[in-house]
């Protein structure tokens, strides 16, 4: 369908998305937003897998399944993360990452 779009365009997009996700992880104060940044990262990787699979190695479905599994992992990660975040909210009444520096040095 979109075979005429160069592979590198997809990769640029996914890479940018990947680093945007990291950027979000680095600057957002809210734990949930950080979690969302993580989702961005994983999503960008998924695009990579899918695109590689489609453009380069369409004979097998490695990339496809990799993405599938990553989505599942992302879901479970999110579940646990949110559970902990809620716990933190209970303890701190806030989910600002700035509060989380009781332990340092």
């Amino acid at each position: 369908m979109i075979d005429n779009i160069p592979l590198n365009s997809f990769l640029v997009i996914s890479t940018l998305m990947f680093f945007i996700g990291i950027y979000g992880f680095l600057i957002r104060r809210n734990l949930i937003t950080m979690l969302m940044s993580i989702e961005l990262i994983l999503n960008s990787v998924n695009i990579n897998f899918v695109v590689f699979n489609k453009f380069l190695y369409p004979n097998l479905l490695h990339g496809h399944f990799f993405s599938l599994i990553v989505i599942a992992v992302a879901a479970s990660e999110a579940a646990v993360a949110i559970a902990i975040i809620i716990n933190i909210y209970r303890n701190f009444k806030s989910i600002d990452v700035d509060n989380l520096d009781q332990m340092k040095f």
């Binding site: 992880f25 680095l26 950080m34 990452v97 989380l100 520096d101």
Partner: protein, 638 residues
């Protein structure tokens, strides 16, 4: 092994006595320790005389020279491939002569001390040390090789140290002992370096090999040259430093006056008759090497000897401590002996100085021991060393007085006392070699007579003092040795030394050169006369004289401030300017560096703590930074 093997016992008996008495010190009651020691040495003395008789007379084939041979020898240590250290007994004229001297004087001192040291705390300890000293000294003279000599040399040093420091509770006694040890040790350093050089170049320590005229030591004198002198010459000079230390030659003499802190019998034994002549003996022992291998070294010996004799004699005229006067006199006399060796040639008539030196050594041992023991008797009687606190003692101490007078006459060189003969030979030898040296010695001869009689008059004449206790003559056990030694002083001059103890073992004809003898007797008489005028009765003359030469007198009285110079060097330079900075450097620089490294680690540890802020985003940042850095380095820079 041969018929002289028994000589091994002469040193060994005192050693056993030392070990036994030393270990059982607490258990020995009363004089038991002393008696054991005296008995041991008595046997040694007997054996020594027997050896002398056997060697010089019984076994001697007329017309031949006296040979040297080893009575016993065992290997003690393999040092290097070619060097072994042996221990043994060497018999030759000088060693046998020394045996006689040492055992005689030592035996006398042993007997004398039974009285003198009576009631002292550590009486047995005293005898143990005396025995140790006797052992060491005998081992020294019997040494078959240079290294054995060094071993016993050191042992002599330590026994001297122990005996000087006998009254260890007196700080002055111990510091004197310490000084003696360290100064002689410093000299021994020279000795050791000399031994190292000599043995390295010749491959042997053995005296017989070394002194063999055709041996390597003498043959290799033309070898490597350092600062204009051959290595052998340097080695000999270094060895002489060792000898100078023990024999209290200038400038290593400073320990000897202080050593008088020891008990008087010790001074008589060690610091008059035996140990201090070890330096002379050392040079005499290596004499062929000196004479043929290092004439320059021999010249050094001569000049040092001459200077010391003059220097010491001058100081002796000003001292008031009777033992110190005797000590300086000893230095002066040893200077004579050294000079005599220094001006001597090798072989036959040429070797007159060598013979004279040994001769003087022999006679000096007798009369100087006598003087010291006499002084001991005086001190015993008045409990003081200071001649200003004495006077008129001739009435109280008749025997002491008489023997002391004999000794003074002997040392002043008045015939027919033995000192005259030996000193005369020295002057002859000096006269034939170097007129300046002769002049010095001639002057010293007069000076000697003067200060000895100054001493004599101050003690036994002058006005009477009021003593706390009336002085009384020493017991028999003390006076008998005095008498025996006086006997020796009088008659030992007649021994035919020129036939017995010569540089090459062969005898030669000797006669008294009256052209030199008469002026020297005159010098002695003048010296006595001046002393008589000044000191026989109390008058103002000495006072005036010292006033008019006040500068010179003060310097001489303070022993030319050599002690102060030494004190400066040891206290200031070594302690404060070397040791203190070293200690500081060690604590602050070296240790500081080590602690500094630890401190740096600690500092690094503190300074990177900011890395761990506890903020998860910063962790992520570092993580990303790490990834980027790795990519940069390993993808793009590599």
């Amino acid at each position: 092994m041969n018929s002289y093997a028994y000589t091994l016992l002469i040193p060994l008996i005192p050693l056993f006595v030392f070990v036994f008495v030393g270990m059982a010190e607490d258990k020995l009651k009363g004089k038991l320790g002393g008696l054991i020691g005296t008995a041991g040495l008595g046997i040694g003395t007997f054996l020594s005389y027997y050896t002398a008789y056997k060697y010089f007379i019984a076994d001697h084939v007329a017309g031949t020279g006296y040979t040297s041979f080893k009575a016993v020898e065992v290997t003690w240590l393999h040092l290097t491939d070619k060097l072994t250290i042996n221990l043994g007994v060497l018999i030759d004229p000088i060693s046998v002569m020394m045996l006689v001297v040492i055992t005689t004087v030592s035996f006398m001192v042993h007997i004398y001390s039974l009285g003198y040291m009576e009631g002292e705390r550590g009486f047995a300890r005293f005898y143990a040390f005396l025995s140790l000293f006797s052992f060491s000294m005998l081992g020294l003279v019997l040494a078959t090789n240079l290294f054995q000599m060094y071993i016993f040399w050191e042992l002599v040093g330590v026994s001297s140290f122990l005996l000087i420091g006998y009254y260890y509770e007196k700080p002055s006694a111990f510091s004197a002992a310490k000084k003696a040890f360290i100064v002689t040790r410093f000299a021994d350093l020279g000795f050791l370096i000399g031994i190292l050089m000599l043995s390295f170049n010749t491959g042997t320590f053995d005296f017989q090999t070394l002194t063999d005229p055709h041996g390597l030591a003498i043959a290799s004198t033309g070898g490597a040259v350092f600062m204009g002198l051959s290595v052998i010459t340097w080695a000999l000079i270094f060895i002489f430093i060792g000898g100078a230390g023990k024999s209290a030659m200038f400038p290593l003499h400073i320990w000897l006056p202080d050593a008088m802190e020891g008990p008087t019998p010790v001074s008589a034994l060690i610091h008059a008759a035996t140990m201090v002549v070890a330096g002379v003996y050392l040079v005499a022992r290596l004499f062929p090497v000196y004479a043929q291998g290092g004439p320059v070294a021999l010249e050094v010996v001569a000049w040092v000897g001459a200077f010391t004799s003059l220097f010491a004699a001058v100081i002796a005229t000003t001292q008031t401590d009777i033992k110190r006067v005797l000590a300086f006199s000893t230095m002066s006399q040893i200077g004579y002996m050294m000079l005599s060796l220094g001006v001597s040639g090798y072989g036959g008539e040429e070797g007159l100085g060598f013979m004279a030196s040994n001769f003087h050594l022999f006679t000096h041992a007798m009369f100087k021991a006598l003087l010291f023991l006499g002084a001991g008797a005086v001190i015993h009687a008045v409990h003081s060393n200071d001649m200003n606190e004495m006077g008129g003692l001739r009435k109280f101490l008749p025997i002491t007085h008489l023997t002391f007078l004999i000794a003074c006459l002997t040392i002043a060189g008045i015939p027919p006392f033995s000192g005259f003969f030996s000193k005369d030979e020295i002057l002859v030898a000096a006269f034939h070699s170097n007129k300046i040296l002769f002049g010095i010695e001639y002057f010293v001869a007069g000076l000697t007579a003067f200060y000895m009689f100054r001493l004599y008059y101050n003690i036994f004449w002058g006005h009477d003092r009021h003593y706390h206790h009336t002085p009384h003559e020493a017991p028999l056990v003390m006076t008998v040795p005095l008498m025996i030694l006086a006997f020796g002083s009088i008659f030992s001059g007649f021994l035919p030394f020129h036939n017995l103890v010569t540089s090459d073992g062969l005898g030669f004809e000797s006669h008294i050169d009256w052209m030199i003898a008469i002026p020297s007797i005159l010098a002695g008489v003048v010296g006595i006369a001046v002393a008589t005028v000044m000191y026989k009765t109390k008058n103002a003359l000495p006072e005036k004289l010292s006033k008019s030469f006040s500068f010179f007198y003060r310097w001489a009285f303070h022993k030319f401030y050599i002690d102060e110079v030494y004190l400066f060097v040891t206290k200031k330079i070594i302690f404060n300017y070397i040791s203190r900075p070293v200690a500081w450097f060690d604590r602050h620089i070296v240790d500081g560096t080590m602690n500094g490294i630890a401190g740096m680690v600690q500092f690094a540890s503190v300074s990177i703590r900011g890395l761990q802020t506890g903020r998860v985003q910063q962790y992520g940042f570092v993580f990303l930074g790490g990834v980027v850095a790795l990519v940069l380095i390993f993808v793009y820079l590599f």
